[in-house]
């Protein structure tokens, strides 16, 4: 279990990317998405449940994901999301951008600094 200080708060753009990435793996409802992000980052990334739904709404309005009401594993009604073709393209674009960005940032940071 990681401590709270080690958990990164998500930037808005990052959340979009992570949601798209998660949905590339399959169909999830909102709660499931939050859990999936949390577990695939080994608990390092914590999704603010309150920000998740407006983000989903934004992605849906952009036509990158689409939603449908369904029934969850434990028999609760839930809104399930899945990636559209446009969303798949958007994911590739954003992932690319992210990799370029993180590469650039690590270049700037240079080799690991010894604690001082």
């Amino acid at each position: 279990m990681t401590t709270k200080s080690e958990r990164a708060a998500l930037l808005q753009g990052t959340l979009d990317l992570l949601v798209l990435r998660t949905l590339a793996l399959g169909r999830y409802h909102g709660h499931g998405i939050a859990l999936a992000i949390q577990s695939s980052s080994q608990g390092a990334l914590l999704v603010d449940h309150g920000s998740l739904y407006p983000a989903l709404q934004r992605l849906e309005a952009s036509g990158w994901i689409r939603a449908e009401w369904g029934v969850s594993d434990n028999n609760r009604r839930a809104r399930f999301y899945e990636l559209t073709a446009a969303g798949r393209k958007q994911l590739l674009r954003e992932a690319d951008e992210w990799r370029r960005l993180s590469q650039a940032v690590s270049l700037v940071l240079g080799p690991e600094l010894s604690g001082g």
């Binding site: 409802h29 909102g30 709660h31 603010d48 449940h49 309150g50 739904y53 407006p54 709404q57 934004r58 849906e60 309005a61 952009s62 036509g63 969850s72 434990n74 609760r76 009604r77 839930a78 809104r79 446009a86």
Partner: protein
């Protein structure tokens, strides 16, 4: 993008979002309970992790769409509700705009095909030109012509270096097959480089090789995709199959792309090598000494060369080529080349169809303006009657910008509905207009990006025009005073703009009515021209035997053809319903040959004009209905060899035999030194209905040799068209191998001249009546509104003892005031425009006072009719009720 519009139109509901949040909280609670938490603790924890559901909901709401779209949607819904609430208002507004827009869509489609759009599939159309030549002579109007000899083509090809290629083509019809299967194909004979110059590639096979230009011995043909599909079912093994052309089998070597019709719009079935002209026109047409003017020439300029430079080169090449011609000085020394556009309708030759289309296009713009004005007026009146409602909205905080936006949205909604209706109108009208103006062109679809764009733009424009005035009036108005007042204050004196708009409508309607009167009268005058032939009852039959030229030269072939025609006439005469039938050497309104005619001793100077010549069979004049003026018609005895008699028409008698009594003494006809004129008949039209008539010398066909029968004329007892199948059967019974037999009412020959005039007349008439109706609707709306506004004033007047008649006069005076000022403006406008239409009219002055008077009178009558209901309403105002309302 579509997805986003869908999102705006079908927003996700707040409830749905709330449900999703609730579902999330439930699932989280379930999870926490499963991990050992108590139900109530889990619920609280889930809620805490989520944050405030209300603020999330707000963020959801804002994320949905920008605010202005929200307000736009509100306006659209409000506008739609308004349209539904007042269906008659909506219907009038939409229908009048739809007619205006539809008319413009239709005419744009025609004009686009005729003038704007380049020929289908042709590349570099802007560098490719059609060549015309004019031969200006002092004191004569110069008439450019596109028809040239093969010799001119080769001279330009070899010497005009500004062209990267020069091609030539010849358009005509040819018979294919025989007996009942025979038909007529539209062909274009071309030089081999024709296709490569226009950038056309075969769909299947190849086009012509260079060796096939002059020579037709290979007997090869390229067919159009349409013929490939219709006749050969799109057979993939089409290459190598043959098609019968004038009795010879031609091998199909290629297929042109779908929709390619060369540089003209007319349908083309088949493409043949230019050399085929040698068997169809005569073996010498490609020789230097040939006098035939039959080819159209196309040239593609090099990139760097200006049209002017090419024109100079072509002119020089032309004059050089013809320098040794016998009459070079009079005919060719001043020749000038014109580098014309590919579209024939834009070329220097007079084109009746494009002239008519431009006219009708201008008139349809006028109608659209009228319709937009009408809708503006209706909206304006409605916005006035809504003043209180609007005032309430303003006081509740609606901005002026918002009111203008709403007004514009309403206009756009009406325009959008009108555009949809207009496309339906246009689908129907485009078909009939094109059938009139471009009868030979392939019908074009209304689902065309250019046409749809144009229609949308016109709709947008007219919607703006219609909505702008109400929007501005709304924006300027002071609303405070409407509140708290039971009546709407200041109504009547605020209708100045509407009065002006209706006056404008009346003026436009008058112009259109005068136009309708002029064009209809002109058309009737042309129809009333004595054609010299009874077109209502006469049919013309022609048979495309071998080559006419061949039989002219070969007495044996001629005798056979004439014998066959004799047999056909005998059989046709026995068809029930046929009153009379006869033969002739030319069709009724066109002459194929000429002859000298003069009194002995008065032989005309070399090169002066001679009359036309036509040899006719027994009963010819009785069949065509050409009336005898003096003397007698041919007797049975005249129809024998060496009878030495002729009949002349009035023009020929007056022009060529002016000396003494035409019926007395000998006259010289051709090489025959003594022929007697036995009769004088009425003139018949010679091709141009409005041009010089007649000048024909008629001779019995049996009285000399050299006459080849080409035509049978038939007089029907009743309706001639119904007899055509029976006549066709009778003609074909003569021989099973007959080529295509053409049978048509003789009046059809003049149809190309009448058609544009007929459509001008009918369109002006339709538009004129439409304009009258629109003006009536506008007037009615204004008067009804005025009466409603003034009911208080009228009530007071009545209470003070005013008679009904006086009140009726009051209303009528207002209405007639508007109409009269509109009529005066309209008369001035039509007088000013009279010069423009003068050239389109025949037999009527563009300032015909009677037509102007009738148009003005009909507007006055319509005004009175439009005023009837409002006047009745005004006289029924009950003073007691009105006064109590205060």
């Amino acid at each position: 993008m579509l997805h986003r519009i869908w999102q705006w139109l079908r927003p996700r509901s707040n409830d749905d979002f709330a449900n999703e949040v609730a579902s999330h909280l439930q699932i989280e609670t379930d999870r926490l309970v499963a991990s050992g938490m108590s139900e109530s603790d889990a619920r609280i924890a889930a809620r805490r992790a989520f944050g405030s559901p209300t603020s999330v909901r707000e963020r959801f709401h804002d994320s949905r769409r920008p605010v202005f779209i929200e307000s736009l949607l509100q306006d659209v819904r409000y506008g739609l509700r308004g349209m539904r609430r007042n269906p008659s208002f909506t219907a009038i507004a939409v229908i009048s705009l739809a007619i205006g827009i539809g008319a413009n869509t239709t005419m744009f489609g025609t004009l686009d095909a005729l003038l704007l759009r380049g020929p289908a599939h042709v590349v570099d159309a802007d560098r490719t030109s059609k060549l015309y030549f004019e031969f200006p002579r002092p004191g004569e109007p110069s008439i450019p012509s596109a028809n040239q000899g093969y010799r001119t083509y080769t001279a330009i090809r070899d010497h005009a270096s500004g062209f990267e290629s020069v091609a030539a083509y010849w358009t005509n019809k040819v018979t294919s097959g025989s007996g009942p299967d025979a038909r007529l194909l539209d062909f274009v004979a071309v030089t081999p480089n024709y296709f490569s110059m226009l950038g056309i590639h075969p769909v299947v096979g190849r086009f012509f090789g260079d060796e096939e230009e002059r020579d037709d011995n290979g007997h090869v043909a390229v067919i159009a995709a349409e013929l490939w599909r219709s006749t050969y079912g799109g057979d993939p093994n089409i290459l190598g199959r043959t098609i019968d052309i004038h009795g010879t089998a031609y091998r199909i070597v290629g297929v042109t792309p779908e929709g390619f019709t060369g540089v003209n719009l007319s349908r083309v079935d088949i493409w043949l090598p230019l050399g085929i002209a040698r068997s169809l026109l005569g073996p010498t047409v490609l020789e230097r000494h040939s006098g035939a003017y039959w080819l159209n020439i196309l040239g593609k300029r090099r990139l760097s060369v200006s049209p002017d430079r090419v024109a100079t080169e072509v002119t020089a090449a032309f004059r050089e080529e013809w320098r040794d011609a016998p009459r070079y000085k009079e005919r060719f020394a001043t020749a000038r080349a014109i580098i014309g556009p590919l579209q024939q309708a834009r070329g220097p030759t007079d084109d009746l169809a494009s002239r008519a289309s431009i006219w009708i296009g201008a008139v349809s713009l006028l109608v659209l303006l009228l319709a937009s004005t009408n809708v503006a007026n209706l909206l304006l009146l409605r916005s006035l009657s809504r003043s209180r409602e609007v005032a309430v909205r303003v006081s509740l905080g609606a901005s002026r910008g918002r009111l203008i936006q709403q007004s514009l949205v309403e206009g756009m909604l009406i325009a959008a509905s009108a555009v949809v209706c207009a496309l339906f109108v246009a689908r129907w009208s485009a078909a009939s207009v094109n059938a009139f103006l471009l009868p030979k062109a392939r019908p074009t679809s209304i689902i065309d990006p250019r046409l749809l764009t144009f229609t949308a733009a016109v709709g947008l424009g007219s919607g703006l025009i219609a909505a702008l005035a109400p929007a501005l009036v709304t924006a300027r108005r002071e609303f405070a005073k409407y509140l708290g007042s039971g009546r709407m204050a200041g109504g009547p004196q605020r209708v100045g703009l509407q009065r002006f708009l209706i006056g404008l409508q009346v003026a436009l309607a008058l112009v259109l009515l005068v136009g309708a009167g002029l064009f209809v009268t002109s058309f009737r005058q042309i129809r009333a021209i004595d054609l010299g032939v009874d077109v209502d009852h006469v049919l013309s039959v022609s048979v495309a035997f071998g080559s006419i030229q061949e039989s002219l030269r070969d007495p044996g072939a001629r005798a056979t053809a004439n014998a066959l025609f004799g047999e056909m006439v005998d059989r046709v005469r026995r068809v029930p319903g046929v009153a009379r039938a006869s033969t002739s050497t030319g069709s009724a309104f066109a002459a194929s040959s000429a002859t000298a005619l003069f009194r002995p001793g008065h032989s005309p100077a070399q090169g002066s004009p001679v009359p036309f010549f036509r040899a006719v069979g027994t009963d010819y004049f009785q069949t065509t209905g050409t009336a005898l003026v003096r003397g007698r018609l041919f007797s049975p005895d005249d129809h024998r060899p060496n009878s030495h008699v002729i009949i002349v028409d009035e023009s020929a008698a007056k022009r060529f035999l002016p000396e003494g009594n035409v019926l007395e003494g000998c006259v010289v006809v051709g090489s025959d030194p003594c022929v007697h004129v036995v009769g004088v008949v009425k003139d018949a039209v010679m091709w141009d209905m409005l041009g010089d008539k007649g000048q024909i010398v008629y001779r019995p066909i049996e009285s000399f040799d050299g006459g080849t029968i080409t035509t049978i004329v038939i007089r029907a007892a009743g309706d001639p068209v119904g007899l055509i199948p029976a006549i066709r059967a009778a003609v074909q019974s003569v021989s099973p191998t007959l080529p295509w037999v053409d049978i048509h009412p003789v009046g059809q020959d003049l149809d190309p001249q009448l058609r544009p005039r007929r459509i001008s007349a009918s369109i002006f008439a339709v538009f004129g009546i439409l304009a009258l109706g629109l003006a009536a609707v506008g007037l009615y709306g204004l008067l009804a509104y005025a009466v409603a506004q003034r009911s208080h004033e009228i009530g007071v007047r009545k209470a003070l003892g005013a008679a009904d008649a006086g009140i009726a006069r009051l209303i009528l005076r207002g209405a007639l005031g508007i109409t009269v000022s509109g009529v005066v403006t309209g008369v001035v406008a039509s007088l000013a425009a009279s010069k423009l239409v003068a050239s389109q009219l025949y037999g009527v002055s563009p300032r015909d006072p009677m037509i102007i008077a009738v148009s003005a009178a009909s507007l006055i009558v319509v005004t009175i009719i439009a005023a009837l209901v409002p006047v009745r309403r005004a006289t029924r105002v009950d003073p007691v009720i009105t006064l109590r309302a205060d």
